[in-house]
Amino acid sequence: MSDIGGVDLFVLEFGDILHYFTPYSLTLFIFALIFTVLVIVARPERQLDIVFGGDAYYAKKTPISERQFRRFMAIACGLASMGAMASGDIFNYTLFVSMVGITNVGIVAAVKSRHVLNAAYEYGIVAMVGTLPLFGGAALILGTTGTLSIPALATGGYAVPLVAKILLALGVTGEGMAPFYAAKAEMFRAPGAPYVIMCSLSSLLIFLRVVEIVITI
């Protein structure tokens, strides 16, 4: 297997499906783990808003019911990101990526702000459309090579179509990377860090992993 992410540190076999860590994927996994722990233990910030036309300002509080739901979705997002980092199977990876898209909407869905909810709706549509090339890419790889195992594809014995790699990368990009991320930036206006930070972190992590996958297979 190509060692672009460093030599394998750990391999766990589930039949023909492998889960593995390279120094690269382990770095990403640890980062997701650290932020998931932060989400579990940290209380949310109280965002200050200035009242225009006066000197007043007020602090927004995140109600407990809203906090519980957003924390749950942020933890789910962290777990999905960690799954995507550890998976050695392209289909599992695409499933985890889709889960990241759903949980990202969930993280801000409980916020009672029209602006944030509109942004979440727009992001949700883009992410949903992004799943088409995402699963299309995985299906093409399976159809042409007969396997979705990343280590098997990386041995070099299979001709993975370039269009399949492009579709896979495009699908992940649709889940929140440039240039499809404008709505995600608006979602960031929602109060309650560290939950909203998971939206950005998960997108970066799945993009970084797909870079490794596309170069490796």
Partner: protein
């Protein structure tokens, strides 16, 4: 090991001080002494420190440690000659550190800095194209292999100069007072850094010092190859001064112009990479 980190952080802060000095001289101002950033870091280390009442305390403190942690890891990755893909990952994850700094305090200035940080995510894409092209040319992303390749074929700076320019722009996008510094522009006070003060700000200064050192050293290692350590420091200083010239003579772009230019650079790099892919057997 710790002495290497301390040296990198101090030298990085010295480079940032030199950066301010060069910009000031070009703009016919006297400017601060070049050790000003080191003095800042020391000064903040001894100032009174607390956590704002509106902040998410764990995140507010934790993000400082994460910032120092990821750039320390990047330092060892570069010095051990490991995969530059890890360096790429850390560079991108620094974005999350900016978000964490900006969003953890509850301040609207920090919040806008964080939102702009999300918008400026386009600056990472030229780096991805650069790394893909390096893999295409050298057949590896392990820094040791890339250095060995340059030992045989000559510096990548002369083999594929557009990618060196792309990486130069990537570093430029992380330099303070530059055309892409929208995350810490003055209309947002200090952007994502606004609410971190005292020892937290000293931690942020260490992060900045390490980041500057690592990015410039990586540029030398990737595009020049193996050179003696003192020569690497001299080349890093020259690269930094050239960055300072660009920062001094270019206005800060608006967030959307910044994204447009970075997108255009990515497009050009993709075309050049496609050309290389076509011509390389």
């Amino acid at each position: 090991m710790i002495e290497y980190l301390v040296f990198a952080a101090v030298f990085g802060l010295l480079l940032l001080g030199l950066h301010r000095k060069v910009i000031a001289r070009i703009q016919t101002r006297p400017g601060p002494p070049i050790w000003q950033e080191i003095l800042h870091a020391l000064k903040f280390s001894f100032k009174s420190t607390w956590v704002p009442r509106t902040a998410s305390a764990t995140l507010y403190v934790g993000i400082v440690l994460i910032g120092i942690g990821i750039w320390s890891a990047a330092f060892f990755v570069v010095f051990a000659g490991e995969s530059i893909l890890i360096l790429f990952a850390i560079y991108m994850l620094h974005k999350v550190v900016e978000h964490g700094f900006g969003l953890s305090s509850g301040s609207p200035y920090g919040k806008f800095g964080g939102v702009r940080s999300v918008i400026s995510a386009a600056s990472e894409i030229p780096l991805f194209v650069t790394i893909a092209a390096i893999y295409l040319l050298t057949g590896s992303l392990i820094l040791r292999d890339i250095t060995a390749y340059q030992g045989v074929h000559g510096p990548l700076l002369f083999i594929a100069p557009p990618f060196a320019i792309a990486m130069f722009l990537v570093i430029l996008s992380k330099m303070p007072y530059g055309p892409f510094s929208i995350v810490e522009s003055k209309e947002l006070v200090s952007g994502y850094k606004t609410e971190h003060f005292g020892v937290w700000r000293a931690g942020l200064a260490v992060t900045e010092g390490l980041k500057t050192f690592v990015l410039l050293y990586a540029f030398v290692a990737i595009f020049i190859g193996a050179v003696p350590f003192w020569a690497a420091l001299v080349i890093m200083t020259v690269v930094l001064i050239s960055l300072s010239f660009v920062c001094a003579i270019t206005p800060m772009l608006s967030p959307y112009d910044s994204v447009t230019i970075q997108g255009l650079i990515t497009g050009l790099m993709l075309v050049y990479t496609g050309y290389l892919w076509w011509v390389i057997p």
